[in-house]
């Protein structure tokens, strides 16, 4: 039973209908996360990380179109739920805040300012559990204590603006976990926090995953945070996954030029004189998605006539570590077993 992944995205392609036409935000993305596992989704702003995360809860705007063969399977312990096929309001509710919880980047902005933190926690519990108001309040206070908020009964009655930044994110985590979701989506949860607070919050999240045996989708643009937090990492660029694998392998032996670039762009504390080398260029507009490999416009090793025409498929580099790059397909030592010119089937993580 534990082998069934909690969430599984298959051929996930997400487009938005706009006045300028159909815009592709996410293309042919495959991943799965098992209970107790943290998948880190890395990428620059605009790479489609948040759109992917929101699609799992059907939180994208009304102009979102999912390709017909896109599938999101959510396992509730007994059944596989076809998330994209859910139409009814109460089915949406079961997913949102029940089976899946989400933590957002701005802990200040994600609490309603004129409703007490406690009221918002109780409200969620009343929606998703059979608890009465009193029990819901007790559980909420217990959760606040569990995430290390001192004087929880008092804090329960306060508003978010009376909390410090780190405390707000702890409260957000407490609220997200109070319904015991199967999947926790953390959308850059520590970006807005001080580095010291960031470490505390990350540690707290790791403890809680083990305790609650949840799956976590951890979204960030910070490879340093991923290294501390995730078990596996998926690198996303312009709506496509470029490299996936166990976090240590990917960071030690990055195979895709983009991943290598991201790692080079990290400041090195042991060599402060070393120049930072950012990935050159800007992420192209989603309106002008490049042909062939989406990264070729910024890639230093791009081969003219090939990378701008052929769509690379996933190549296995080491066990469970794959990257989609034509350079790897040409590499003699690489196992290009399934790498042919037919439509890419993507890697299943």
């Amino acid at each position: 039973m534990s082998s069934t992944p909690v969430i599984k995205a298959e051929n996930l392609t997400i487009r938005f209908t706009t006045d300028e036409g159909l815009i592709t935000a996410v293309e042919n993305v495959n991943f799965e996360i098992s209970a107790g596992e943290v998948l880190g989704l890395v990428g620059e702003s605009g790479s489609g990380k948040s759109v992917t995360a929101k699609s799992l809860m059907l939180l994208n705007a009304d102009n979102t179109v999912y390709d017909p063969d896109s599938k999101i399977w959510l396992y509730d312990g007994e059944h596989q739920i076809d998330v994209l096929a859910l139409k009814k309001k109460n089915e949406h509710r079961q997913i949102r805040g029940g089976l899946i919880s989400m933590i957002f980047q701005e802990p200040m902005a994600s609490f309603a300012p004129a409703i007490t933190v406690g009221n918002q926690m109780v409200e969620q519990l009343m929606l998703h559990t059979d608890l009465n108001k009193k029990q819901a309040a007790n559980l909420s206070i217990e959760m606040l204590e569990r995430v290390g908020i001192a004087d929880a009964p008092q804090r329960f009655k306060q508003y978010a603006f009376e909390f410090s930044g780190g405390m707000r994110q702890r409260a957000m985590i407490a609220m997200a976990l109070s319904t015991k979701p199967r999947l926790l989506i953390a959308d850059e949860p520590t970006t807005a926090l001080d580095v010291t607070i960031q470490a505390q919050v990350l540690e707290l999240m790791q403890d809680l995953v083990k305790e609650f045996n949840m799956a976590i989708l951890f979204i960030t643009h910070d490879l340093g945070v991923i290294a501390q937090t995730a078990d596996r990492v998926a690198v996303m660029y312009l709506g496509k996954l470029l490299e996936t694998g166990p976090v240590r392998n990917v960071i030690r032996h990055p195979a895709h030029p983009y991943t290598q670039g991201l790692l080079r762009a990290l400041p090195k504390l042991d060599d402060l004189d070393a120049e930072l080398s950012p990935v050159p260029g800007d992420i192209p507009s989603p309106l002008e998605r490049p042909n062939g490999c989406v990264f070729h416009t910024r890639c230093e090793s791009a081969i003219a006539g090939r990378c701008d025409q052929i769509l690379p498929v996933f190549t296995q580099i080491e066990p469970a570590h794959e990257a989609a790059c034509l350079l790897l397909e040409d590499h003699p030592s690489a196992n290009t077993g399934h790498a042919t010119d037919e439509a890419p089937d993507g890697a299943t993580l």
Binding site: R96, M102, S110, A112, A114, E123, Q124, H128, F161
Partner: protein, 336 residues
């Protein structure tokens, strides 16, 4: 609760201080008008054929207390206004201002406030629902109605209604009272007669006020609805009416209350033109008259002061209401 009383008291003191400041400005403006009341009155008598000497003017100035220093005169004026509600005599008409104004100011204020209340009673629910509705038809027609209300001058609307009423019912609908009640004592019949006339200015003023408020409410709602906490609430499973009323609607209430405070002034400014067309005897047109035609500084000062006092009072009320609905305001002013 104690803190709240303290907050209300502080606000009340601040309001009174504002009023004192306003009274000083108003009084200074009255003084700046060239010529004193004594000169103007005697000049008026002069035109009636009487011979006036410098001695007469000085005697009149002494009688009116105009020979006393500025601050003392201001003190007297403020004291009379605050403690006895007495504005003194009009310069030109030589009549007691309180008698001259009579119910007029209260009637004007009543018409303005009623228009505002109607405007917001309609605009708040309609604005909230339309911001949440995806119906192109509903939003399109609402936008049409509000632009129409914003674009069409009040006096034109008033004229159109009067024309229509005259042609269809043979009644011009002008004035605030029928002939037989105009100078009668207040009675139930007079109130009913008043209401049967007052709906028209309320409607005309309320029409554009509603259009304006509708745009405000809709914009505030769209602003709130796009905030992260609404998405976060949605991600916790809230949906439909519960999400709408408890999250964006609840949180746009504060700014809506705030905008109410500004609107009274706007409506009062529109009143004189409407009043002129509907031949209402109200304070706004009296103010225009005393400012522009007869240069009656005492009367103008009294009306300006009363208007400012009403706005300060309304702002005081909205401040209190704001503290009730928004905990951030409550905490920030009470320093808890």
């Amino acid at each position: 609760m104690l803190q709240f009383t303290q907050f209300a008291l502080t606000r009340a003191l601040m309001a009174i201080f504002t009023l004192l400041l306003v009274s000083l400005i108003v009084f200074s403006l009255m003084e700046m008008v060239p010529g004193t009341c004594a000169e103007r009155y005697l000049a008026f008598k002069n035109t009636q054929g009487q011979q006036i000497s410098i001695d007469d003017i000085e005697a009149e100035e002494r009688r009116l207390g105009l020979d006393k220093p500025f601050l003392q005169r201001w003190g007297n004026w403020v004291g009379n206004v605050f403690f006895r509600g007495e504005f003194g005599d009009s310069c030109i008409l030589r009549l007691n201002i309180n008698q001259l104004l009579g119910d007029k100011f209260l009637l004007s204020l009543g018409i303005c406030l009623t228009s505002l209340i109607f405007a917001y009673l309609i605009a708040i629910p309609v604005g909230i629902l339309s911001s949440a509705s995806k119906s192109k038809w509903l939003n399109g027609s609402l936008r049409f109605v509000s632009y129409f209300g914003l674009a069409m001058p009040n006096f034109l609307l008033a004229l159109m209604i009067m024309l229509f009423s005259t042609m269809v019912f043979g009644d011009t609908l002008s004035g605030l009272f029928s002939k037989e009640y105009r100078d009668a004592e207040w009675s139930i019949a007079r109130v009913l007669d008043f209401l049967s006339h007052a709906w028209l200015p309320v409607f005309v003023l309320g029409w554009s006020a509603t259009a304006f408020a509708l745009q405000t409410v809709r914009a505030l709602m769209l602003d709130e609805s796009s905030k992260l906490y609404v998405t976060a609430a949605k991600a916790r499973g809230l949906s439909g009416g519960k999400l709408l009323w408890r999250y964006p609607a609840r949180h746009s209430l504060g700014p809506i209350i705030n905008s109410l405070g500004f609107d009274l002034n706007r409506v009062f400014n529109e009143l004189p033109i409407v009043a002129a067309i509907l031949t209402l005897t109200e304070a706004g047109s009296l103010l225009l008259d005393s400012l522009a035609r007869s240069n009656d500084q005492q009367l103008a000062g009294a009306i300006i002061f009363l208007l400012t006092a009403s706005i300060v009072a309304l702002n005081f009320i909205t401040d209190i209401a704001l503290a009730v609905v928004d905990p951030r305001v409550r905490r920030s002013v009470m320093g808890a």
